[in-house]
């Protein structure tokens, strides 16, 4: 079946079927040598990307910009909204109308949930959501799935443990949804106060997946194929007291990993703080830096599909 992604907005992972996602992941595999700079390509040389980052970001912004450059396209935009008209009180809708007139595709990160959906209403050109507050971050989700697929050869039937802040963490909500869509086995490990929201668990169940929830990492790790670690994000907590109570609850170190399967992979959307000990970096379990690289082929695949359709 031929997928048509041309001019499609990428706002939420939920806008995509399993077939769509599989097509994107497979296309991204072809991008790897270009993402590494081993081969050159300029299929997007006639296009300009607007990179509108209303909130700080390192990996997502740089990888989008790198992806566009690797495909021969150009990038305009800002990484600090304090230097824009937003500061003068301009609405997001007006900023989007402007970027729509200046470029062929818009990548947006914004602190408010729903910002990318709103942007898609005001732009003729396609919008890619690079994170909207505590809402969606579909390209992160795709690169996570891509990492599991390339390392484990399949997504379904893997036992995947999601660890850390499952309440406020936006990546784990989309990821739990997408992993359920593919039929992975899920375990949620978090402090009692940061448990996975009921709505997310219900979504998993709609796909026939019955996730386990526990506070005990030691047990969960024993038969895990993938351990997905998240940072407890201070900025998402309504009060400092709640944050202080739970920060540092879990630490992944070599001692813990003695109980794990030999081929366990550890992922993390980064940045990490104290949840993974740096000693783990040197082990074959550590996949998080490769995962960060995978943002490039995935974003190259998306940019190419949305602007030009499949070219490779």
């Amino acid at each position: 079946m031929k997928m048509n992604f041309k001019n499609r907005d990428i706002v939420s992972i939920k806008d995509f079927s399993k077939t769509d996602i599989t097509a994107i992941l497979n296309y991204a595999k072809h991008m790897i040598p270009y993402a590494k700079g081993e081969k050159q390509i300029d299929i997007l040389k006639k296009y300009i990307l607007s990179s509108l980052f209303f909130e700080p970001s390192t990996r997502t912004r740089l990888s989008f910009e790198s992806a566009m450059n690797r495909l021969g396209g150009r990038v305009i935009g800002f990484a600090d909204p304090s230097a824009t008209s937003q500061k003068k009180g301009e609405s997001l809708a007006d900023t989007i109308r402007m970027a729509d007139a200046y470029s062929d595709i818009i990548v947006i990160r914004h602190p408010q949930e729903g910002a990318a959906r709103l942007a898609a209403e005001f732009a003729e050109v396609p919008i890619i959501n690079a994170g909207d507050g505590a809402g969606q971050h579909p390209t992160q989700c795709l690169l996570d799935l891509f990492t599991i697929l390339t390392e484990k050869k399949r997504i379904e039937k893997n036992h995947i443990v999601l660890l850390g802040d499952l309440k406020y963490g936006r990546t784990v909500h989309s990821l739990a949804y997408a992993l359920s869509l593919f039929g992975a086995e899920l375990t949620f490990v978090s402090p009692e106060s940061l448990k996975m929201p009921k709505e997310v668990i219900n979504e998993c169940k709609e796909f026939g997946v019955e996730p386990n929830s526990t506070v005990n990492l030691d047990k969960a790790i024993i038969d895990a194929d993938v351990l997905y670690v998240t940072r407890i994000q201070k900025e998402r907590f309504p009060d400092a007291e709640e944050y202080n109570r739970v920060v540092g609850t879990y630490k992944v170190d070599n001692e813990l990993l003695k109980q794990a399967k030999k081929d366990l992979i550890i992922m993390h959307p980064l940045p990490r703080v104290t949840e993974i000990d740096p000693e783990v970096d040197a082990t074959h379990h550590a996949l998080y830096f490769k995962q960060a690289f995978n943002g490039i082929p995935i974003r190259m695949a998306l940019l190419s599909l949305v602007l030009e359709g499949r070219k490779l």
């Binding site: 949930e113 729903g114 709103l118 505590a134």
Partner: protein
């Protein structure tokens, strides 16, 4: 003689089959008593064929369709009877559209629809029974729908 719990009205609107306990929320949506100086009667926990229900009678006021949509959000099984000279001249069953625009405010304070942007709030109906709606922009499902009615 049969005792009438609420007496018939001459002109106005009778909202029947309101989910038991929701009459007060219906009044709030209709901005009663502020929006009318006529008599309004409320009956709660009335036994009907389908179990307990609430009934609201508003004298001398015929509800318009926009108001009906608002009621559908909190009392999806309600029926609206327009009364003239003690007779029912029109009977509507409120019907939930698949999307409601500009009626309820998103409960998420950081949703973009609550910012100073040129858009109206927009909700999609996730399920009609039990009623669940979600914000088109941020996906949040409000816990108390009546709370957000504008």
């Amino acid at each position: 003689m049969k005792e009438l719990k609420i007496i018939p009205i001459k002109n106005g609107t009778v909202i029947d089959h309101i989910t038991a306990g929701y009459a007060v929320k219906v009044l709030r949506v209709l901005k009663i008593p502020e929006s009318t100086s006529s008599v309004v009667s409320v009956a709660m926990n009335v036994s009907g064929k389908m179990g307990k229900k609430d009934i609201v009678k508003v004298e001398n006021r015929e509800l318009d369709p926009h108001e009906l949509d608002k009621i559908a959000l909190i009392a999806p099984k309600a029926t609206i009877n327009i009364i003239r000279e003690y007779e029912v001249v029109k009977k509507h069953k409120v019907e939930l559209p698949n999307e409601v625009v500009g009626i309820a405010k998103c409960s998420n304070p950081t949703c973009i629809s609550n910012a100073r942007e040129p858009v109206k709030s927009r909700f999609q109906i996730v399920s009609k029974d039990p009623l669940r709606i979600k914000c088109y922009y941020c996906d949040r499902e409000p816990e108390d729908i009546a709370e957000g009615i504008i």
